[in-house]
């Protein structure tokens, strides 16, 4: 195959360059292009004039949207890869094999872009590898997070690499990478349980700064449990969006199969949310903060989060499962994702320094940069799923790959 044919088939979706370029002119791409065109200069601004030029970061409120969104929300939403990987490859729930690749891709991109946000937010981003190679602060919870994000990013890349090799047609490499899957998955469980909870543990140092309703010695377990619910919810929602917007993946049998898998995953989210709700109650009881609940705006806001964004989606999912309604499960999953983001924003930004009189949480330029990076992330995701066998192309996608033996080709 000549390079030209290869490019045409693998990159330009079987079109000539001109056809491909023309196919890119869509309303979605125009909006996306516009957002990037507006937002990118702000990223440049940050690197020319410093963080102060685009953020409202101050000496008392050093962390803003970049971390609240990119790290503290982005990482739990990317738990998808580890949860589904564990279910399929370790627990042997092969039924979920058709969504596991997508789950790993969502996870990988989530971590990758968490690092992108870190590179924007760090004062000296070119030293991002220092905690891994140059200078160690092992008593720091962030040291653990840094190491784990580095290791887990590599781990997830390897987990996803069989798909890349499959796309590139490198069959031997694909099999080689495939044989590492179980080991990588178990390594991923270790890393994920530790760093998902470590993100919560980062705030253990600040009992006076995070509002007492959100600060708890149980923060690590709160963060881990809600990350599991959020990760599965991401698979539910993103699979639904892919199914809705990419007609190439649609056919009656796959629709039905995805519906069944969605119900199954919805069950897992409901159970996890219920556990999480219980844990949060234990947290309030442990600190004996019942009195704070109804007495201030913070108390009401806490109740809104707990009842409206943990218990409500949980009940919604239970109702959906009772009715067997796939679309209601998807709504519940979306609600769960929102709830997780609200929780991470509350801990890392909104209730942080709640007792100070004047606070600026973030500036609109930060939000603009976030939007830009998220749009780029969506475009990268779309680029990959249109080319690589991430979402099964047809329902006969073979499930016999679990052992790395009796391989089935899916191309």
């Amino acid at each position: 195959m000549s390079l030209r044919d290869w490019l045409r088939e693998k990159v330009f979706l079987g079109m000539t360059l001109r056809e491909y370029a023309r196919s890119l002119v869509t309303p979605f791409n125009l909006v996306a292009g516009l957002i990037i065109a507006v937002g990118f200069p702000f990223i440049v601004l940050r690197f020319v004039h410093g963080l102060g030029a685009v953020t409202s970061g101050s000496h008392v409120q050093p962390w803003g949207l970049f971390l609240a969104w990119g790290l503290f929300s982005g990482v739990p939403l990317s738990a998808s890869g580890f949860v589904l990987g564990t279910a399929v490859y370790v627990f042997g729930l092969r039924r979920y094999h058709p969504v596991v690749n997508n789950a790993i891709l969502i996870g990988f991109l989530g971590y990758f872009f968490a690092v992108v946000f870190l590179l924007i937010d760090l004062g000296r981003p070119w030293r991002i590898y220092y905690p891994v190679m140059i200078s160690y602060g092992p008593a720091s919870v962030l040291f653990l997070v840094g190491w784990h994000v580095f290791l887990y990013l590599s781990c997830q890349f390897l987990e996803f690499s069989p798909t890349i090799f499959g796309w590139a047609g490198a069959e031997r490499l694909r099999r080689g990478a495939r044989s590492l899957t179980v080991g990588l998955t178990i390594f991923g469980i270790i890393l994920s349980t530790l760093h998902q909870s470590a993100l919560g543990a980062m705030f253990l140092l600040m009992p006076g700064k995070v509002h007492p309703l959100w600060w708890s010695p149980y923060l690590p377990i709160f963060f881990l449990t809600s990350a599991i619910a959020a990760g599965i919810s991401m698979v539910i929602v993103v699979s639904a969006l892919v199914h809705r917007f990419f007609p190439g993946e649609r056919n009656p049998r796959w629709t039905e199969q995805l519906g069944e898998l969605t119900l199954g995953m919805g069950k897992a989210v409901a159970l996890t949310l219920f556990t999480y709700f219980g844990l949060k109650l234990v947290g309030v009881a442990h600190g004996n903060h019942w009195g704070l609940l109804g007495t201030s705006p913070w108390g009401w806001w806490f109740l809104t989060e707990l009842l409206g964004f943990v218990l409500l989606p949980c009940l919604l999912l239970v109702l959906a499962l009772k009715r067997g309604s796939v679309s209601l499960v998807r709504l519940g999953a979306l609600w769960t994702i929102l709830g997780t983001i609200i929780n991470r924003f509350n801990v890392s930004l909104i209730t942080f320094n709640w007792n100070l009189p004047h606070r600026e949480l973030f500036e609109w330029k930060e939000a603009m940069i976030i939007l830009t990076v998220v749009v780029i992330e969506i475009l990268v995701y779309r680029w990959i799923i249109l080319r690589m066998p991430v979402v099964p192309e047809h329902p006969a996608y073979r499930e016999g790959e679990g052992e790395g033996e009796g391989e089935a080709h899916h191309d």
Partner: protein, 326 residues
């Protein structure tokens, strides 16, 4: 060439060793220092009843640390109109409060408290912030990556960041004039104070001195040495005639050193690292052997179907049917 190889291998070993050691063993060891084993650090006692708000300490600090000239001159009292905080251009500032009983002004000098077990140092993932054996908490800008976790962690809101430096932004704060202490001199602010409001010495001695002053003049002082126990103790100690909560001091702080709060979590890390592979590896082996049995069962059925009836080896469970082709 040989040397180079060895060095490279040595380097790799070093990195790996530190990585594994750091991930498994180090956290527990790093946090194991108890209050009793602490050296008797240098400390500074600030007697707020003696401070007249002359701001000479601010000027001395500025000179000793080579900081940029201030926007408002150091003898200008108008700065007291608002409450200021230390920042990257001023490691210490004096604020004016009012004694609610007498209406007289009370001046409070603020700067890094130099905690006995600093939260900032325990937060720093590259070890840029360190508690020295002498007492000062110092900073090494050569390894700082600018994550600003130290700022989030500090209970006194002290570390400041150079937000408008895109190339080499630093964390800035008081270093208790570490360079002077090592030469046997006292910190610049202490040397400059005309009222004897600041006393430099060993922490244990200063606590005795503070107690003595409070005992001799119980009407002049409130019965509290701020910094003796707050967050496990600090190397700046304050005594005052006005309750500390009236003077902007954080009074909601635990007596336990803050790094203790993440100790429990960090001590779980090695447990997870060691036990998860066994646990989940075991679960994997169990689920695989179950799969094998199923596959074998399906095969037997298929064979039976081939020889006997024309029935397919399909038992209807969508989780198992497709594995028959192996």
């Amino acid at each position: 060439m040989m040397d180079k190889l060895v060095t490279r291998r040595g380097f790799l070993k070093g990195v790996l060793g530190t990585a594994i050691g750091g991930l498994i063993l180090h956290p527990v060891r790093a946090l194991a220092q108890s209050a009793r084993e602490r050296p008797d650090h240098f400390a500074i006692l600030a007697d707020l009843t003696r401070c007249i708000g002359c701001r000479r300490c601010e000027a001395a600090c500025n000179r000793a640390n080579g900081l940029p000239p201030p926007e408002v001159p150091f003898d200008d009292k108008s700065v007291f109109e608002e409450k200021r905080r230390p920042d990257e251009k001023a490691f210490t500032v004096v604020n004016r409060y009012e004694d609610p009983k007498t209406g007289k002004p009370v001046y409070v000098k603020i700067q890094c408290m130099h905690c006995e077990e600093p939260a900032c140092a325990s937060a720093c993932l590259v070890g840029a912030l360190k508690k020295t054996p002498e007492g000062p908490v110092i900073y090494n800008e050569d390894v700082c990556i600018g994550c600003r976790y130290c700022m989030s962690a500090c209970p006194f809101y002290i570390p400041a960041f150079e937000y408008f430096d895109p190339v080499s932004p630093r964390i800035q704060k008081c270093y208790m004039c570490y360079h002077r202490i090592r030469k046997g001199e006292v910190p610049a602010c202490v040397a400059e104070c005309p009222m004897g409001a600041l006393t430099f010495g060993r922490r244990s001695e200063l606590i005795k001195l503070a107690r003595e002053r409070i005992m001799k003049n119980p009407d002049r002082y409130v019965d509290h040495i701020y910094g003796e126990h707050e967050v496990g103790g600090t190397d700046w100690l304050y005594i005052s005639g006005v309750p500390f909560e009236e003077l902007g001091f954080p009074t909601n702080l635990p007596e336990k050193p803050l790094p203790e709060l993440s100790k429990g979590f960090l001590s779980l890390v090695p447990i997870v690292l060691v036990s998860w592979p066994a646990l989940f590896g075991g679960i994997y082996l169990m689920s695989r052997s179950r799969d094998r049995e199923r596959t074998a069962l399906t095969r037997t059925r298929t064979q039976a179907a081939d020889t006997g009836t024309d029935k397919e080896g399909n038992d209807g469970d969508d989780g198992t049917t497709t594995s028959q082709g192996e």
